[in-house]
């Protein structure tokens, strides 16, 4: 029955076409190959833990343009004409390896990297930092976790998403919030992947902490400058987070005890060098500690906590086959109880993800990865008092199947192609409850959708100076049954409404000289699912909705250009990037919307357009005792909707024209390291009051043009110090301390404005005051970190 429905048939036809084109291309590549080439391939790993290394460089020493890098699973493949080569293998933070390779037939060469010496520069490695200059990836940043761990953080918690917000082009709108906005795009336009599973809600505690526990994370990359055809489904960015696989050699137990939260990670081999596992957990307990006191009050039972659990297990069957099973489970739970009036409120929400992957090396040029994903986000609110009770819940649930292939057919070509299909279930705010004997419900039903895509991209070295990445993605979304629209009833999997689009992705890199390059990019993206928030901040009650009969997909186009330079042995990196983005079918709520769960949310939507443009300047020092970066971003983000203020163009709620960020880390000695960051940004826009007036003797507010005023500028400095008492200890157990201060000079940054209206018209009283409320003053924190290794 599924096969007979139109959309999958179309998919099938297109997939056949894509396959044919691919066949022709590889055939012609083989014919074009002037010389017979042989392939050097294998896996690149960390010698201590056995973890694979993503994005490590492999190149011929005397001809650095001839090279490749390891993929997400540590696999590399380099085809060269017969001969003898000095091949360099390098990865930041590790010692280079230079191997002499006599290539007269295909060869397998796995490399184990040893950690590089952090303190002093021993060997000058020119070409390590050239990766940024040379690759076609535009607006892409790779963040290894140990770099993030050295940065200061809120309440002593190191956070991947917070670290991303310190990079140019990535804005955070709110004090402490984990939501982020990339190059003028909304919070729902970022594809957040944890081991290939999309994460819908990235924040704990209404966004103050992100859901990513950095102890479990190996590598994070952010793509903001137009994503290659490999990625899709969102308009503005990709944050691709890879969990660690687990140490394949030794058992390691590590963690930290902090004031607000603690964490514990256990990893080790199941079969040495063949399979390993990692389990990582984190939990807050501030209110748990206060429970004995709370129990004595009328609020007994009131508590708030969140937890994260990451788990992963992997097994290497052979050099050709490996499987991984990873999962994430996280929850925020708020319990509020008031005994006197028998009132109880419980609000649990969070994400679950599970990913099963199979790597298969088909040949030394063809690497295949098959992935099955389950991911979901659920929000629930239960309340009761006396005879009355209610439940509100919403969420998203996905099943996804994905096939990706990395193909290295000939020198100068790196091809990726694949397909994926996702079955979505969207649960809107379903409200149900009872008052005595009577039950009631808004009787909403979930909506279902099938999202699919095929893609093809080829990274081609056209000449010594010119590289290009040409890609095409074709995506489709169909709302499917079960569904009822008025009197029309749709069966399971019956198509209700379809959308599709071609998404070309084109990138070009031109090397001016071995250390300088210019890049250009153009990308077009479609987004079929949307998160429409009614406040300046994202809330757990916000609902993800699919495209449907009444909601069209969002579309975005981005043009970008950049200049990149590496100075002096790779220690310094400079870049300047500029972009222009246009957005269509943006969604907001109509002007008199009140969040009433008895009307369908789609009826409250209005549609419009958006625009963003900017310039990002970046200077980074990545070597030496002092490392860090300085970034300045100028961005303007605009929106306009025909049904909001007659289409007046207004700044988006996260619009931040000027944003300056400085991060620095200094290794004082083997025991001490210090780090600091400083941020400065234009104040956030807000909607000011136009006037106040009386209704029923009371003053009410009338708002002026949307986002036409701004808060004061935001600036803040944070500082932290890391102390390792016995850095050279050979013992199994080691510990260290982290002291951090958030908001070092106690800047009173505006969090929101509160209007205090005190009035009684007939009594002749009318007083109004506006207060600016600051959330976080100076906050110190201490964490003790420990590690035990077998």
């Amino acid at each position: 029955m599924i096969l007979s429905t139109p959309f999958l048939l179309n998919n099938g036809v297109l997939m056949k076409k894509a396959f044919l084109y691919f066949l022709l291309l590889t055939l012609s590549l083989d014919l074009l190959a002037q010389q017979k080439t042989f392939t050097l391939s294998g896996y690149l790993r960390d010698s201590l833990s056995g973890e694979t290394l993503t994005g490590a460089n492999v190149y011929v020493r005397d001809r650095p343009q001839i090279g490749t890098s390891s993929n997400h699973y540590g696999f590399y493949s380099l085809s060269l004409p017969a001969g003898e080569y000095a091949v360099v293998f390098s990865y930041l933070g590790f010692e280079d390896r230079i191997e002499t390779v006599r290539l007269s037939q295909d060869q397998k060469l796995d490399i184990l990297f040893n950690p590089g010496i952090q303190l002093e520069e021993l060997v000058v490695e020119e070409n390590k930092s050239l990766e940024q200059v040379q690759s076609t990836a535009m607006g892409r940043v790779d963040l290894p976790t140990d770099q993030i761990k050295r940065m200061p953080a809120l309440f002593g918690e190191v956070d991947v998403l917070k670290a991303l917000q310190l990079l140019p082009g990535v804005l955070s709108a709110d004090e402490g919030g984990a939501g982020f906005y990339v190059r003028g795009g909304g919070a729902d336009q970022n594809l957040l992947l944890l081991d290939e599973a999309p994460v819908y809600n990235s924040g704990h505690l209404l966004g103050f902490f992100s859901v990513f526990n950095s102890d479990a994370i190996k590598h994070t990359s952010l793509i903001k400058g137009g994503m290659p055809a490999y990625y899709g489904g969102r308009l503005s960015s990709v944050v691709d987070i890879q969990m660690k696989e687990g140490n394949a050699r030794d058992y390691v137990v590590e963690g930290g005890l902090g004031l607000i939260a603690s964490r514990l990670t256990v990893q080790g081999p199941l079969v040495e060098d063949k399979s390993s596992f990692i389990v990582s957990a984190r939990r807050t307990y501030l209110l748990d500690l206060a429970q004995p006191f709370i129990r004595k009050t009328d609020f007994a039972g009131t508590n708030y906590y969140f937890y994260d659990l990451n788990a992963k297990v992997n097994h290497r069957f052979s050099d050709k086959d490996r499987i991984y099973l990873s999962g994430y489970f996280g929850r925020d739970i708020l319990d509020y109880r008031s005994g006197e009036r028998d009132f109880a409120l419980r609000m649990p929400y969070g994400n679950n993800t599970a990913t099963l992957r199979w790597n298969h090396v088909v040949s030394n040029k063809l690497f295949m990865n098959t992935t099955a994903v389950y991911n979901g986000y659920r929000f629930r609110l239960d309340g009761e008092q006396d005879l009355f009770s209610f439940r509100l819940n919403n969420g998203v649930r996905d099943f996804q199947l994905k096939l990706d292939t990395d193909y290295y057919p000939a020198p100068g070509h790196f091809i990726r192609f694949g397909a994926n299909v996702i079955h979505h279930r969207f649960t809107p705010n379903i409200l149900s409850g009872a008052s005595g004997e009577t039950t009631f419900t808004n009787d909403y039903k979930p909506k279902y959708g099938l999202e699919s895509a095929v893609f093809f991209q080829d990274e081609i070295r056209i000449s010594e100076r010119l590289t290009t990445n040409l890609g095409l993605r074709w995506s489709r979304f169909t709302q499917i049954g079960p569904f009822r629209d008025g009197d029309k009833v749709y069966d399971d999997f019956e198509a209700v409404k379809s959308f599709d689009g071609l998404e070309p992705r084109l990138f070009l890199t031109w090397m001016l000289n071995p250390r300088t390059s210019l890049k250009f990019g153009y990308s077009q993206n479609q987004q079929y699912i949307h998160l429409v928030s009614n406040s300046a901040s994202t809330l757990p009650t916000d609902v993800w909705v699919p495209s449907s009969l009444y909601v069209k997909p969002q579309r975005g186009n981005q043009w970008s250009a950049g200049w990149y330079k590496t100075l002096k042995d790779g220690t310094w990196n400079l870049s300047a990037e500029t972009f222009y983005k246009s957005l269509r079918n943006q969604i907001d709520y109509h002007e008199t919307y009140t969040s009433n769960q008895s009307t369908e949310i789609e009826e409250a939507f209005v549609f419009g357009k958006g625009q963003a443009y900017g310039l990002e300047l970046f200077v980074q020092k990545s070597r030496g005792k002092l490392t860090g970066w300085l970034g300045y971003t100028f961005t303007r983000s605009w929106r306009w909707f025909r049904d909001i203020e007659q289409g007046r163009k207004f700044p988006a709620s996260f619009d931040k024209p000027h944003d300056l960020e400085m991060v620095a880390s200094y290794q004082v000695s083997r025991k001490w390291s210090l780090s600091a960051n400083f941020v400065y940004g234009t104040g956030r826009p807000f909607t000011p009051l136009r006037s106040v007036y009386f209704i029923d003797q009371d003053l009410v507010t009338r708002y002026g043009p949307r986002n036409s005023a701004r808060y004061q500028d935001y600036h803040r400095a944070d500082f932290s110090a890391n102390y390792t008492p016995k850095p050279d200890s050979k013992k199994a157990f080691s510990g260290s301390w982290t002291f951090s201060v958030y908001n070092l000079y106690n800047r009173k940054n505006p969090f929101f404005i509160n209007y205090d209206l005190d009035s009684d018209l007939s009594a002749g009283r009318a007083k109004a005051t506006a207060y600016q409320v600051t959330l976080f003053p100076l906050i110190p924190s201490v964490t003790w970190n420990f590690k035990w290794k077998s």
């Binding site: 209610f390 969040s595 009051l689 009386f694 506006a770």
Partner: protein
Amino acid sequence: MESPNLQDQKTKNREARLFSVGILILLFMVSFFPACEVEFITRNIDLEPEIVVEGFIEAGPEALPAYVILTRSKPFFSELSPAELDALFVRNAVVTVNDGQQTTTLDELCFNELPPDLRRLAAARLGLNPDSILVNFCVYIDLNAAIKPEAGKSYHLNIVAGDQRIEASTTVPAYVPLDSLWWREAPGKPVDTLLQLMARIQDPPGQKNFYRYFCKVNEGPFETPFSSVNDDILIDGKTFDFRLIRPRQEGEEFDQSTFGLFRTGDSITLKWTSIDEAHFNFWNTFEFNKGNQGPFSSYTTIDTNIKGGLGVWGAYSTGLYRLRVAR
């Protein structure tokens, strides 16, 4: 929890409550640190003041005559003197109501110009405390009760104030009464002196119904609770039991242990009304606007059915229920 009233009320309250719960969490975490408030000086937006209409027409027992209060909006200020409040009232406007057959002009009445007993009467009818009126309160009112509101009829309001023209229309809906009322012990720990008021309604099926209620305690004025309006989307055609909230009196502090509960021995007059959709939208957005503050708030625009101004021209179909608070 906020009143388990009709479910919509619950959900609206819930959203408002959710925001305050969010703030609760914040306050819990932040209570360890000194939260910071600094006065914020707003910059005034240079726009014309607007005329605000609060006009109502009632059909039912002891109904007030049709009346309209006309005031002006003001840019955000710090404090207004009684003289400045006086100046907010729009004087010498021509206010007429047309019921499809006849047009009635409403008479302008200002409190300072009334003899004391008439003043007292007018204050009581409008729900004001005559002793604490420090402002020259003005209202346009159908003194002779020429307009006799009827269910099903539409009433058209026309105002000429200076060179501004304002119009609006409203319909008196059919009245939907309460089926029954009874007292119940306070939820949670029972208290001798406090009871909760329960009501049952049979919502007419297949039509859109909107409700609002007022409560008068002893000799006080009619007041409305924080969440006073409800629609019937979730309870259409059902027989539904719900709790009525005692509105907070003027000057009364919020106390969670007594909130919404009635004191034994008091005399209560409950005014239960039916209103039309535009009237409902006005009070619904008004209540959201008032409850919406804080970092997770949204900018709620108060809906209006006034063309050329702000506010509402609303009709009520009313019924009165007199009760004594007792077990």
